[in-house]
């Protein structure tokens, strides 16, 4: 009697561009903007038979103490345009763009996404994020459509009252109406959508695309975010990258599907995870520690501290102790970035850590902000990834390398073959669309 075939994992590559995880000081670190960097990483991921290549989005440069933050990688291209170009130099890999639902209109975005699906012969995906804040809003038609859609803005904010998810949910639903508006025989039929946020009347200009609908991804962790994922998404991109947190999250979102008439397999849970490889586990740990030191430069350490303490700490020595006084609650030194949580609680946690282990400011920040997930020899990392999937902590992973553009080379050359040997990852693409890689059915046409 043979054992049941092990569950297959899905893999995606996150382009290591703009963020504080990229080790830009490494001599091997290349351009985060030249097309050749995107081409290299996407082709590497395709060589590794990955499900998709993923781009994040940020629509305003971050600020620190009222000025543009200058310590981390900054400057990125516009996602859908890069992915359209990548469709020319890849054949099978899915192409996923993060595109915000607040500062776009359903008709235009549905059309751009359907176009990408046609141009890539069925490989498009959309991470429909909900980020909306007045800071980012300053780059868009101020006081424009958010008000006109009948949703008053909160005072002093570009964010509509209520939750961004009501707009996001209607946005995705409207896009799906447009994607469904051509008959399978290729005849356009008029759309008439009259909702709380959007009114769309007329004919869509793009026929039903190869995947029916591009794959929809959700990223956002609140109750509402999880409900949105359970009701409308094909993939949920999460930060829950540890075994326990992953299992709890996995059980939670999968458990929400039935209420929306969906089967557990219809939503793939994919945490964003980092990895560090070495010839041995000890090598990898050493390498990982080195990466953390480079990610948290002395200047980064002080900046991280200032973000929690809410005041200028530039006179502090990064190799010295943490400030003795408490943070200013409510002070916001950093804009355009996900916050670490309640500053007083974070400061208490950091102080405890520093005292317990005798850590300097920089060492504390290195320890407290690290999100390195999979560290070890190729065999160790392959075993860990397989274990997470077998244990119900994930359906697969969105891998975030540290280096642009070569950060995935080792993984593809050394880990993928071991995953294949274990029988947990494909040895060849069996289909040509992203839905086929993910084992997702084409959406039923609701004409």
């Amino acid at each position: 009697m043979t054992a049941a075939a092990p569950k297959q994992m899905h893999l995606a590559a996150h382009f290591p561009g703009v963020n504080n995880t990229t080790v830009w000081s490494d001599p091997r670190s290349g351009s985060q903007i030249e097309f050749s960097s995107f081409e290299h990483l996407a082709r590497t991921a395709e060589r590794g038979l990955f499900d998709f290549f993923f781009l994040a989005e940020g629509l305003r440069l971050r600020e620190h103490k009222g000025r543009i933050h200058d310590l981390d990688v900054v400057g990125r291209p516009e996602s859908l345009t890069v992915l359209s170009a990548l469709a020319a130099v890849t054949d099978r890999i899915g192409l996923a763009a993060t595109v915000n639902t607040t500062f776009n209109e359903p008709y235009e975005l549905a059309r751009r996404l359907a176009t990408l699906d046609h141009l890539s012969a069925g490989r498009a995906a959309w991470n429909a994020v909900t980020s909306s804040d007045a800071f980012t809003g300053e780059n868009f038609r101020r006081g424009g459509y958010l008000d006109r859609a009948g949703i008053p803005r909160a005072p002093g904010s570009a964010r509509p009252e209520g939750t961004p998810y009501t707009r996001a949910a209607e946005f995705v639903a409207t896009a799906r109406e447009l994607w469904d508006s051509w008959t399978p025989e290729g005849a356009p039929r008029p759309v008439s959508h009259r909702g709380r946020h959007f009114t769309v009347e007329g004919e869509f200009t793009v026929p039903r695309s190869p995947q029916g609908h591009p794959v929809v991804i959700q990223a956002g962790d609140s109750f509402e975010g999880r409900e949105f994922a359970a009701s409308a998404a094909d993939i949920v991109f999460t930060r829950h990258g540890t075994l326990d947190a992953g299992r709890a999250f996995y059980a939670d979102v999968k458990g929400r599907l039935a209420a929306h008439g969906r089967a557990p397999d219809e939503l793939k849970v994919m945490p964003g995870v980092t990895f560090v490889l070495g010839d041995t586990d000890a090598d990898a740990r050493e390498h990982a520690a080195d990466i953390r030191r480079r990610q948290v430069s002395p200047q980064n350490a002080i900046a991280a501290l200032e973000q929690v303490w809410g005041r200028d700490l530039s006179s502090y020595d990064p190799d010295g102790p943490l400030p003795a006084s408490d943070p200013d609650p409510g002070a916001e030194l950093v804009r355009g970035r996900v916050r670490q949580g309640d500053p007083l609680a974070v400061a208490a946690r950091w102080r405890a850590l520093s005292e317990e282990k005798g850590l300097s400011i920089r060492q504390t920040v290195i320890e407290a902000t690290g999100r390195q997930s999979f560290i070890g020899s190729p065999a160790t990392v392959a075993a860990l990834l397989a274990e997470y999937v077998a244990a119900g902590a994930a359906d697969g992973f969105i891998l975030v390398p540290h280096l642009t553009p070569g950060g995935l080379d080792d993984f593809v050359d050394r880990v993928v073959p071991l995953l294949q040997e274990r029988g947990v990852f494909r040895r060849a693409y069996t289909g040509s669309t992203l839905r086929s890689h993910l084992g997702l059915a084409e959406p039923v046409w609701k004409g």
């Binding site: 000081s25 305003r60 440069l61 046609h118 009347e201 200009t205």
Partner: protein
């Protein structure tokens, strides 16, 4: 006789809606085979067809030299997104991007967005001009050398070389800076059809390439003079503009075309700027108009791209090359180089130097 200015040639590759990449790539490669300056792909929200900018981004890695100019409209779109997308097209094509500025005048397009009713062309072109203006500012909002990667100070960028644009227009405002670093050409090439009065001023202020639809060389020259005067009035060097005559061409009768007659010149048909005839006559028409100093070149819209573009390239362009009126290879790599246009100086870098 004064030396002739170099002749510039461009072609539209849109036509009946096609959604597959191979179709567009084939046409762009054909145009590249004729060393054309650029191809355009028209677009609008209310007629069947894919997103033009995405299509030309898909074409970029499959071509090497030809310029890529999609129409992107400004009426229902976000100027910040438009600037990012055009800059990105320039990055992925390594300096071959242009942008034909369009407006959406119809109620049908307005209803697809449900944000505001259709507006008069004058208002829309004013807004389009503002959009082109803020795009140029956003393209300048990163100085070329803003990325410093200084390991000594831990700084990836020199934030003194990044600039808020703080644009306040009648229809929108944008804070900046761009999220996309300054593209290879500094600014992607801006193309505006300046034939109609409401668009003429935006063309004179913001365009690098102005398209003109007129039936005679005299009428074309008059519009060209008007655009150049207006540009000068806005403080621009008129020679920094290229004015191209826009013709729709039907070479379906190629085989039966009459003998070329340079003396009288092949006539344009009654339907506006519609040329019907053979590729040789078209070459003669181009030669005459260009010799007369009426235009800097031509933008040809083949009525049936798959058939007529082949005839344009292998008939008309080959003849012009044979007569040494048009180049046989690309001496440079960027669209600005093809057009003989300088890479724009960065307005913020200049301002910085004066301090």
């Amino acid at each position: 006789m004064p030396a002739l200015r170099p002749l510039h040639l461009a072609a539209e590759i849109g036509g009946p809606p096609r959604y597959d990449a191979a179709h567009h790539t084939g046409l762009a490669r054909l145009a590249e085979g004729g060393a054309l300056d650029f191809v355009t792909l028209g677009d609008s929200f209310a007629r069947p067809g894919p997103d033009a900018l995405a299509v030309l981004a898909r074409v970029a890695p499959a071509t090497r030299r030809v310029g890529l100019v999609p129409t992107v409209t400004t009426t229902h779109t976000e100027p910040f997104h438009v600037s990012s997308a055009a800059a990105t097209l320039d990055w992925v094509s390594r300096g071959r991007a242009g942008w034909q500025v369009g407006v959406s005048t119809t109620e049908a397009e307005a209803r697809l967005f449900g944000r505001r009713p259709a507006a008069p062309a004058g208002d829309l072109w004013h807004e389009a001009g503002e959009c082109a203006d803020v795009c140029a500012r956003l393209w300048d909002s990163w100085e070329d050398d803003a990325e410093i990667r200084s390991t000594a100070t831990g700084r990836f960028i020199d934030r003194d070389k990044l600039h808020y644009v703080d644009f306040e227009g009648a229809a929108f405002s944008v804070r900046g800076p761009a999220i996309v670093p300054r593209p290879p050409q500094g600014h992607p090439v801006v193309v505006i059809d300046g034939t109609a009065e409401p668009a003429r001023d935006a063309a004179a202020r913001h365009a690098d390439v102005v398209l003109v639809r007129a039936t005679t060389p005299e009428r074309t020259a008059a519009i060209r003079d008007d655009v150049r005067h207006r540009a000068a009035a806005h403080g621009r060097a008129p020679d920094a503009l290229r004015v191209l005559a826009a013709l729709t061409v039907d070479l379906g009768d190629a085989e039966t075309a009459p003998e070329p007659g340079l003396a009288s010149g092949p006539p344009l048909a009654g339907r506006g700027t519609y040329y019907r005839g053979g590729p040789v006559d078209l070459a003669d028409l181009i030669t005459q108009w260009h010799r007369a100093g009426a235009v800097d070149g031509f933008h040809l819209t083949p009525i049936t791209p798959a058939r007529d573009l082949e005839r344009i390239v292998n008939g008309t362009v080959a003849l012009l090359q044979h007569r040494s009126l048009f180049r046989t290879f690309y001496p440079g790599g960027t669209l600005r180089e093809h057009l003989g246009l300088a890479r724009p100086a960065n307005r913020y870098a200049r301002a910085g130097e004066r301090v």
